[in-house]
C-alpha cells in the first residue's frame, strides 16, 4: 500500500490552471518534499490530498482511501498543518491541544509520547493564548495539534516559510525524528536547500511537476558540466561573464557564479563543481 497515490490531477481557478496533470506516489514511512516557489500550486495540491477541495480531473488516494468517496476516513487519519496559522488564537496552548485531541476522540495523554519532544518546548507557556505566541512557538503548537491523533500521514504546507536558518534546521530535525516513529510526511517548501533532507522530492513550477526523484539522483541528471567562478563584486562578475559568448548560462550563488559553457574547451580555468538542487531547478524551469 502506498501512503499517497495521485493520478493525473488537474485543477483550475476561474479558467486559470493551478495544477496540470500531476501524478506521483509516496511510500509508507517516506519523507517526501514538494519543492517550488510561491504560486507554483503547492497549496492547491495539499488541499486536494487532505480532502478540502476537489480536483477538476484525476484521482487521489491516501492510505488507499479515495479523497472524494472516503473523505471522512481520510480526515480521521491524516494530520494537516496549513501554511497560514489556523489554530484558535483566543484559546490557550493547552486548550487548543485538548480541543484537537477531543475532535479525534483521543486525549493529550494518550499520544503524549509522539508530541513530547516538540511540545515540551512550549509547555512552559501552556496557559498563554495562542494569539500571543511568537512565530516559532505557534509553529510548534500547530505541529503538536496536527500530530495529537497519531496520524498515519502528516501533510505540512510550507512549515518553514519566513523562518530563520537556525530554526529551520531545528524544525527539520523534528521531522526526521517523527519519520523514525513511522509517520509518513509530505512537506512543501520554497527553500531549495531543504530538498536534501527529504528521501525523495518533486520539483514544482507553474502547476507542473518538473521532475521527481531522490535529491542525489536529481543532481546527477544535470545535463552539462557546471563550473564555479569567484569574484569580489557580483554585479561586475555577472557583467563580465555575460559578455563571454561561450558562456551559456550564468547565475549568482553566494560569493560565486555558477556557469555552463556552450562549447567545452580543453584547459579552461574554471573550477568544476557538483550541481545543487537549485541549479537543477533553474535549469528545468527556464
Amino acid at each position: 500500500m502506498k501512503a499517497v497515490r495521485v493520478n493525473n490531477i488537474s485543477k483550475a481557478y476561474k479558467g486559470k490552471l493551478a495544477l496540470e496533470d500531476i501524478s506521483f506516489e509516496v511510500e509508507k514511512g517516506e519523507l517526501f518534499g514538494i519543492i517550488g516557489p510561491d504560486g507554483a500550486g503547492k497549496t492547491t495540491l495539499f488541499r486536494i490530498m487532505t480532502t478540502l477541495i476537489l480536483a477538476d480531473e484525476g484521482e487521489a488516494k491516501v492510505d488507499d482511501y479515495d479523497v472524494v468517496k472516503d473523505y471522512k476516513l481520510i480526515r480521521e487519519r491524516v494530520g494537516y498543518m496549513p501554511g497560514r496559522f489556523s489554530l484558535y488564537q483566543d484559546l490557550t496552548v493547552i486548550e487548543n491541544l485538548d480541543f484537537f485531541a477531543s475532535l479525534f476522540n483521543t486525549t493529550v495523554e494518550e499520544n503524549y509520547d509522539l508530541i513530547k519532544d516538540i511540545y515540551k518546548q512550549i509547555e512552559p507557556f501552556k496557559d498563554r493564548r495562542a494569539g500571543a505566541l511568537s512565530g516559532g512557538m505557534k509553529q510548534k503548537l500547530a505541529l503538536s495539534c496536527a500530530l495529537i491523533h497519531k496520524p498515519s500521514v502528516l501533510f505540512l504546507d510550507e512549515p518553514t516559510t519566513g523562518v530563520d536558518p537556525v530554526s529551520r534546521k531545528e524544525f527539520w530535525h523534528m521531522l526526521k525524528n517523527l519519520q523514525k516513529q513511522g509517520i509518513t510526511i509530505v512537506v512543501s517548501t520554497p527553500y531549495m536547500d531543504e530538498a536534501n533532507l527529504c528521501n525523495r522530492i518533486a520539483l514544482i513550477n507553474n502547476g507542473e511537476f518538473l521532475d521527481i526523484d531522490s535529491p542525489q539522483n536529481l543532481i546527477k541528471k544535470f545535463p552539462k558540466k557546471l563550473y564555479s567562478v569567484e569574484g569580489d563584486n557580483m554585479p561586475k562578475l555577472l557583467k563580465t561573464l555575460r559578455a563571454n559568448d561561450n558562456i551559456e548560462t550564468c547565475f549568482s550563488f553566494g560569493d560565486c557564479c555558477h556557469i555552463t559553457l556552450n562549447n567545452e574547451t580543453k584547459d579552461n580555468d574554471y573550477k568544476e563543481i557538483q550541481p545543487s538542487i537549485e541549479d537543477y531547478f533553474i535549469r528545468l524551469s527556464k
Partner: protein
C-alpha cells in the same frame, strides 16, 4: 556626509524586555547593507525605529540626516519601504498602485504620470499597465513593489525579506534591481533568510538577542570566523541565542 544611516547606542525596551540593546553602526550612501538575525532577534524593531514608526527608549539615529526622535515626518519622505507581507494593493491596477504610493510619498501629479511610463518600460511591464496586481505572478509583484518603493528617489530603501518564496531565477533578477538601485546612490537596507543573498551585500550585520554580534564585509567575516559560508557563521552565532521568539 557620506553616511546615510548613523545609529548610536540605540535601545528599545518593552516593559522589562530589552528588544534592542545598545546598538551602534553606520551605513554609507549607495551601500547594500544586509541586516541578518534569527526570528525575534530584534530586526523588525530596529527597522521600525529607523523608519520613524517607533521611538527609541534611549540612544538615537539619523536617517538621511534626520533625527528619528524628532523628525519622523521628514524621514518618511526620504525613505522607501517594502516587505514580503505588505507590498501592493491586490485589487488595484498596476498604474493605480504606482499613483497611490507615489502620492503618499509626496510626489507631484505631473511627475508621477511621466515617471510611471518610464518605469513600466524599464521593467518591461508596458502591457501590464491596466492589469490588476492580484493577477501578476509573485515575482513580478515583488519587482513592481520594489520599484514603487524607490519611485520617489529616496535616500534609503528598507527591504524586509523581499524575496521570500520567490523562484530562484526571479530572486536573482530581483537582486540585479538592488544592484542598479545602489549604483544610483540609493542605500539598500535589506533583511533575508537566504544566506546566499547575504553574500551579495557590501556589508552585513548579524543580530542576536537584541545586539549586533558581527558586522563586516562577507569576506572579512568569513576570514574572522574561519568559515567558508555565511550560513555557517550565522548558525554559530544564532544557535546560542537565548531568545528565539518574537
Amino acid at each position: 556626509m557620506d553616511e546615510v544611516i548613523v545609529v548610536r547606542n540605540l535601545t528599545k525596551r518593552f516593559g522589562a524586555f530589552t528588544a534592542v540593546d545598545d546598538i551602534s553602526f553606520e551605513v554609507k550612501k549607495g551601500e547594500i547593507f544586509g541586516f541578518l538575525g534569527a526570528n525575534g532577534a530584534g530586526k523588525t524593531t530596529v527597522i521600525r525605529m529607523l523608519c520613524g514608526l517607533s521611538k527609541p527608549s534611549s540612544g538615537n539615529a539619523l536617517v538621511g540626516g534626520f533625527d528619528i526622535r524628532h523628525q519622523s515626518e521628514k524621514i518618511k519622505a526620504n525613505i522607501g519601504y517594502m516587505s514580503q507581507r505588505f507590498s501592493l494593493y491586490e485589487d488595484l491596477k498596476v498604474w493605480e498602485n504606482i499613483k497611490l504610493f507615489a502620492g503618499i510619498y509626496g510626489m507631484k501629479k505631473k511627475d508621477i504620470a511621466i515617471k510611471t511610463d518610464i518605469l513600466l518600460e524599464e521593467l518591461g511591464f508596458e502591457s501590464q499597465k491596466e492589469t490588476l496586481v492580484s493577477a501578476l505572478p509573485l515575482g513580478w509583484k515583488q519587482k513592481l513593489a520594489f520599484s514603487v518603493a524607490i519611485f520617489h528617489n529616496p535616500k534609503v530603501v528598507f527591504l524586509d525579506e523581499p524575496t521570500g518564496g520567490v523562484d530562484p531565477v526571479v530572486r536573482r533578477q530581483f537582486w540585479e534591481l538592488i544592484y542598479k538601485t545602489a549604483e544610483k546612490g540609493i542605500t539598500v537596507f535589506v533583511t533575508t533568510h537566504y544566506m546566499d543573498e547575504a553574500e551579495y551585500c557590501d556589508r552585513i550585520s548579524i543580530m542576536v538577542d537584541g545586539r549586533i554580534e558581527a558586522l563586516d564585509t562577507p569576506r572579512a567575516l568569513k576570514e574572522k570566523f574561519s568559515s567558508d559560508s555565511i550560513d555557517d557563521i550565522f548558525y554559530q552565532l544564532a544557535r546560542n541565542a537565548k531568545r528565539k521568539e518574537d
